[in-house]
Symmetry: C2
Subunit: 244 residues, 2 copies
């Protein structure tokens, strides 16, 4: 007759409402950029007070799932170029200057996932993936060499599509063309030596220290949707991280 190990698990009403709304966003009830129902509408719908709904939506806004505009409404977050650059691009010039990145595609091919890819992307054995290589330039100089790996199941025919559009930022592209929404990314940083190929591409000497950024991008349920390994020349740039 011992009490249950995990007590009845009281969940605040606002947390439940938040989960319900997030589920509906995930299900695609409102597309990125579209307005959500107003707080009062939600309040009536879920039979709660406006303040409770407000708290639910506030948490969603804190997690960048939605964006609020006073007088206008609340909108499903979208991967604009602005957001991609401010939230998901942490490389800055040492002198504080601002430069716009461009990108040069290298290759795009379909293959079977390696063990490492399966593990990082949470795929089953033998699943297909698409591997994209590209160079990102800042100020017309090659700065980053990237290998991007995505599950083929999520992004069918992405190679063919890339021929047409050649987007600079991938996440807005994933969103509009495939309905895949990246909401968070986990990065592991290391210092490694540039190999021959990277050296040539980045126009540096073989063995030059480069910053490796190993990123897994995930969507709503922390489900991985992209694995990306970047090698960055940090001679005149740095990666910015703020700790609280």
């Amino acid at each position: 007759m011992t009490p249950p190990p995990t007590p009845p698990a009281f969940r605040p009403l606002f947390a439940q409402i938040k989960e319900l709304i997030v589920d509906r966003i995930r299900a695609g009830e409102w597309q990125p950029g579209e307005p959500l129902p107003s707080e009062t509408e939600f309040a009536e719908f879920y039979q709660a007070s406006q303040g409770t709904v407000r708290k639910a939506i506030t948490e969603m806004a804190d997690e960048n799932l939605v964006v609020r505009f006073r007088g206008k409404g609340t909108f499903v977050a979208s991967h604009t170029r602005e957001r991609a650059l401010s939230h998901f691009f942490k490389l800055f010039r040492d002198d504080g200057g601002k430069d716009l990145p461009s990108s040069r595609p290298f290759s795009c091919r379909r293959q079977k996932a390696t063990r490492a890819m399966e593990e990082r992307l949470g795929l089953e054995r033998g699943a297909g993936v698409v591997v994209i290589e590209r160079v990102r330039l800042l100020d017309e100089r090659p700065l980053i060499f990237e290998i991007v790996v995505v599950p083929e199941a999520l992004f069918p025919d992405v190679c063919a599509s890339l021929q047409d559009s050649l987007p600079n930022e991938f996440y807005p592209y994933y969103e509009t063309k495939y309905g895949v929404r990246v909401i968070r990314a986990i990065e592991q940083l290391r210092s490694v030596a540039a190999d021959e190929r990277e050296a040539e591409i980045l126009e540096i000497a073989v063995g030059t220290p480069v910053l490796e950024i190993d990123r897994v991008a995930v969507t709503y349920d922390d489900k991985p949707v992209e694995w990306r390994r970047s090698r960055c020349n940090t001679r005149d740039h740095h990666y910015l991280s703020v700790l609280n």
Copy 2:
């Protein structure tokens, strides 16, 4: 008769109250670890509702300035070893294992600030600084070589004090011994080649790529209190960064 460029600047009541309370914490009215007055006490004091005070304190908690415990009260945040490691130490083992860092002091000396130090620490020309060098070990192996620079004015006789205590984490030490509270740190990461000295200390070959972490730690008014340059061997470790 044009309207003022910056409109009257309406500040919400909760923001004003927050600022007032933060000012009082900064002034030392309550020490780290000590309880603040309750929300209802603050509400009465500032002639506001409990909900408004609550919102002010919630923001302070979000910024890790205070810690709340249900049923107990709200306390000024303190640099426990836990917090130092979880919030200000981002290096982890690749295999996910956990290892406790220890540290070996190297040198501690007083000198005049270089131009770089003046700039990073916001010091006047010719100000005195204390430069501390140390090695941090994980699993008994040297992993990080650090140069720590602090203004002498803030930390008088720190070299002598360090002889006695030799703390592993500096921020709790700054807090208890000097009343200096680090609340945020800004880090710039680069990949560089280990020089002779670093190579010897870290037991690696000269020229091995190491991760440079260039950190400025600040206190309440974003005032710099420490500049730290770490060189990390990332052969079996990585720096973790989460993007939203």
